[in-house]
Amino acid sequence: MDLELSDDQIDLRDNVRAVLARECPASVVRGVYEGTDDASALWKQMVELGWPALCVPEQFGGLGMGFVELGILAEELGRVSAPTPLLATVTQFAPLLVEVHRSAPSTEIGDLLADVVAGTRTGSLAFAENGRWSPGSINATASGEGDSLTVTGEKTAVLAGSEVDSFVVVARLPGSEQSHHLGAFLVKRADAEATTPPVIDPALGLADVRFDAAPATVLSAGDAGTEIARAAEQAVVAMALHTVGACRRIFEVTLEYAKVREQYDRVIGSFQALKHRFADMYLAVEKANAICYFAALAIAEDDARRSEASHVAKVSSGDCQRLLAEEGLQLHGGIGYTWENDLHFLLKRAKVGDVLCGSASWHRTRLAELLGLSAVVAS
């Protein structure tokens, strides 16, 4: 029993953090926001460093690291509100491919993962519909078979949906309109219609994606509900850590600011009214971080608590961002409200992180079910 990162994991974190500080300063994020940078240089650097390969199993040429390491990467990307399709590719696309491959191995999936490792393929998970991160809300449907297989449906807020090469689309299996069996289907972005409405954080490449009888390849054999659920847990915990990463950085920059900003001839951080709020912010970040890594560890070790822990982690990260986005902005005062200050990239990333992969409220209702509390309601 050891809930602290190992020395190797801490080294990985420090290494990733140092690279991102150098390669992804706020000026890059600002460039993406203002349309003057497409972050392609950053992506190239990430591929050179082997980050897409980090947690892909060794059998596909990856580095075979575990889910805790993937969580570290997701958290650090949140810390700098990073653009690029890395988050979608490594925390959503690859995990579902790996899960499906485990129960139904195929050379095709192996090739896809090898492409991910090489940095020649990016992908995302097309899961949520009508803004609902829930298998029960999926109406996208596959039809036909073999070469004539197509997928039809609409997915919302797909991570990096405007920039990835491929989607794994979660859709009902052909002929499964009643029984609601779900499968995983590969669709090229070129065969789908991705629209990118202006959103508050343009650096995530969020897109609404329409599949209109889009040519598709089936990846799973039969009902892939279990594999989809397991991949969704990974996406959820990664997004929770991503959110907490943004929150920790909000905390740090706000704390730094309170130590230098002077009013009434003293730094504002010396006022007790603010000190107590910093103590509460610090607790919110530390506890969310601790439970998110517990969930990551449960996934890494395939522990029976992984599903429940993923919901708890997302709820806690949601609670964390609520406090940190609010206090971070409030304690910066007017300067934090300006476009020129970099704070807003983090504020926006924290808010979006709460919305994606199921809001805190949705995960709370799932927990109520798991704890048997909704059964009480039903009776």
């Binding site: 809930l3 910093f278 522990d303 109520a368 704890l371 009480v376 309601v377």
Partner: protein, 394 residues
Amino acid sequence: MKLRFDESVEEFRAEFLQWLDLNRPSDQEMADDPARSSGHSPGWARAWTRRMFEGGWLVPGWPPHLGGRNAAPIETLVYLEELNRSEVPRTTNPQGLGIVAPSLVDYGTAEQIDAYAMPLLRGELTACLGMSEPDAGSDLANLKTRALLDGDRFVINGQKVWTSGAGYADFCFLFCRTDPDAPKHRGISIVLLPLDTEGVTIRPLKEIVHPEYPDLSEVFLDDVIVPVSNLVGELNDGWKMAGGSLAHERSMVWLNSVMGVESAMAQLLEMAPEIMAPLNQREQVLAADDIVGFYVEAQCARALGYRGFARFVKGGTAPEQALMKMYASELRRDLGRVAAAWCGPASLAITDGRRSDLGLIEGYFATFGSTISAGSSEIQRNIIAERILNLPRG
């Protein structure tokens, strides 16, 4: 990182469980003669402490002659987990076992260890902590109780307040001022005061719940004579030792408070069907969401506490310790408030027992013992802000 305990730790757990099964006090004897305060050790509790001492299970991390078995910290953790699960109190005199005994082992003379620490560990004596005073609460270093060195004895005059367990304890670990001219942190010493000494007057302070079983007392000291051999550590070195004592306390509080939250959470889940039965559907949804919220927090408290433990074991600094006192005590309080709120008029009942149950307003009020004492939540926030986050004092 890993979730499982090593095989050797699980063997340690199994060994303790087997011993516990054979040696634990019975539910009946505990119910028949409950502890009346944190300084009171009923017969069964004294015998239980003695059995733990002799079995090497009282303080597992200590060597056998102090009632331990040189256990590793992780083994002590599973020991505390299992004790908590068994619902047998480790001691009815937590400040004696958790603070006074370790402080004496660290700073006491051989004679003091023989006369005070060992009897504490064998269940023969109980102790209280004389710290707070009317003008020295959160600002503890402001304490004024005066111990005047007079040859080979101290003459002590002053007043302590909020002294837990003083009404029943055998002796007091007393903080007093020995140099009134030194800066306030530098003139404090600790002396051991047998509470049957002439000039000691103890007045119980009735509390807002269970006034019939007061734990807190005022302690008046009028020309109380104590031999100089009862000085613990060096003269005027008390504040530094206070840091040590409180650190002992923190390390206990931090694990026990997580377990306390977990127990309360388990109890709340058990009560859930009963709480929900009379509610309409909309209320049930609200109640379920409240319960889920505490479930999430209890999981967070566990993850944070155990991560702090892991850092502590690896020898690093563990800021979690400072966070846990405030977090766990406030969480336990909030859980008590919400549980009582959902219990409706049933929450108004007062019990005759010495233990306040979840779902009662009296139980909710009782949780304030933890948010106020041993460094209030406000003091904890100051400590976090100033010592961990390095915000300037001001």
